[in-house]
């Protein structure tokens, strides 16, 4: 994709479902949940294309997939933080992408909501056979379910399987501080230390 331009980029874009951070949404915008999800089809519809029955089916399916069908005709401004994030995921799903790119989908939500969103993404990834890129600053929220980890700090610092990247030596060199691993109920957690660890 790097260096692609014009028609090639447009062709590639259709296969990528992008989920931006929630803060990019205008909270005052007068729009229903359903209409916000329909926007995911705009790049395919163009300026004057009309929604077909198949398009409407895809919108309904996306709303069902994220659990927002009952809220479809509500004002998008009435949604909670977690629901807003699910709306953005539905908007990306509606174009039936092959690749999902999620940019910090759990930022500014509570722990329970964070867990629910990660579970949703994991389920959609499995059900739809997606290639999923999940951008996060919190390795613990995705550690149990990712195949590969890519660390970027202006450049690529590390890339590989969980076993290759998520070990003490690699993480301590990445974070520049002590790293501790903890386990609870069969699940591993990474604690990046400061002077108190």
């Amino acid at each position: 994709m790097l260096g692609a331009g014009g028609h090639e980029l447009a062709r590639v874009r259709r296969h990528i479902g992008y989920v931006p951070q929630r803060r990019t949404l205008d909270p005052q915008f007068p729009i229903t949940v359903r209409d916000a999800v329909v926007m995911g089809l705009y790049p395919m519809l163009g300026a004057f294309g009309r929604l077909t029955a198949d398009d409407r089916r895809r919108v309904e399916a996306a709303l069902v997939a994220v659990g927002l069908l009952d809220s479809a005709d509500h004002a998008a401004g009435h949604l909670s933080g977690g629901q807003q994030q699910r709306l953005l995921i539905a908007r990306a799903l509606v174009q039936e992408p092959r690749i999902m790119l999620l940019d910090e989908p759990t930022s500014a939500v509570d722990a329970a909501t964070r867990s629910a969103i990660v579970d949703l993404v994991r389920r959609l990834h499995a059900e739809r056979g997606l290639t999923t890129f999940y951008v996060t600053h919190d390795i613990n929220e995705v550690m149990p379910c990712v195949d590969k980890v890519l660390y970027i700090n202006r450049t690529v610092r590390a890339f590989g399987s969980c076993a290759q990247v998520l070990n003490r030596e690699t993480l301590e060199s990445l974070y520049g501080s002590r790293v501790v691993f903890a386990e609870d109920s069969g699940r591993r957690y990474v604690i990046v230390g400061d002077s108190h660890v």
């Binding site: 992008y18 007068p30 229903t32 300026a47 509500h74 009435h78």
Partner: protein, 281 residues
């Protein structure tokens, strides 16, 4: 009751009010949703420079103002991008500069022409057939552009980052909106004046926003509010012998007050219990 419509100047006044009410109400949706109220005010003040230039050069002031306002809009857009300034700072710089140029152009005029000041507060009864044609053409350009770009502008306004990621030329669309706003100001200044045009750019759309959660319906309600404000304001100004611009803006403000007080958004949603606004929790 409608005998005043027998007069040619009143027919032109009514037509110009319809054009202004329609054009302002449509672009006003973006002024309200994108927070462009200061841009509208800035371009309206910049129009003073264009009007003064027109009188100085003895050309049609509205034609001079079209070029002047578009130029100012272009400078604002370019400066905010290239100089990495927030948009309101760029607007502040150029609207003050344009007003200063207006004062300069007046100082350079050999003879004092009081008609300039008619553009400050509007003179709907002085709309000429030539003015009407220019207003209609510009109004059609603005409304036509909004119609053609309806979806793109909706996407841009709701989620600019996603719109850009989808391949929309967001910078160009934002610049175009600013240009359409500049044209709308020119459409309106003969009717409501430079000082009060801001009210028509904001108030009808703000009224509509009180009454609906739907984007498309907001255009329809804004148009109704704009039309009622302009036509009723004109009739009231004729009946009471008061300035038309002030009358129109007063009607618009009363409509907004009523909409705000009786807004359905003030009542709790029966399903989710929310009143309005995004829950940021």
């Amino acid at each position: 009751m409608f005998e005043f419509l027998h007069y040619g100047f009143m027919q032109r006044a009514l037509l110009s009010s319809v054009i202004v009410g329609t054009t302002c109400s449509f672009i006003g949706v973006f002024v309200v949703l994108r927070g462009m109220a200061f841009a509208g005010s800035g371009l309206a003040h910049a129009a003073f420079g264009g009007v003064a230039l027109g009188f100085l050069l003895a050309v049609n002031p509205l034609v001079a103002t079209v070029l002047f306002c578009l130029g100012t809009a272009g400078l604002i857009q370019v400066t905010s991008r290239k100089a990495q300034l927030r948009m309101d700072a760029a607007i502040g710089i150029f609207f003050a500069f344009a007003m200063a140029l207006g004062v300069l152009f007046i100082g350079l005029m050999k003879r004092y022409d009081a008609r300039i000041y008619g553009y400050l507060f509007g003179n709907v009864l002085g709309v000429t057939p030539g003015n009407l044609i220019l207003m209609a053409v510009l109004g059609l350009v603005v409304i036509g552009a909004i119609g053609l770009l309806y979806r793109r502008l909706k996407f841009l306004t709701f989620d600019e980052e996603m719109a850009e990621a989808s391949g929309l030329p967001t910078d160009a669309l934002a610049a175009l909106l600013l240009g359409l706003l500049a044209l709308t100001v020119v459409v309106s200044i003969k009717t409501v004046g430079i000082i009060l045009v801001e009210a028509l750019l904001v108030t009808p759309a703000a009224t509509a926003y009180q009454l609906t959660h739907r984007y498309g319906m907001m255009f329809a309600l804004s148009w109704i509010a704009g039309m009622v404000s302009c036509v009723a304001g004109l009739v009231i100004s004729y009946a009471l012998g008061i300035p038309s611009g002030a009358s129109i803006v007063t009607v618009a403000t009363v409509l907004f007050a009523l909409a705000a007080v009786f807004s359905p958004k003030r009542r709790k949603c029966k399903v989710c219990g929310h009143k309005s606004g995004f829950d940021t929790a």
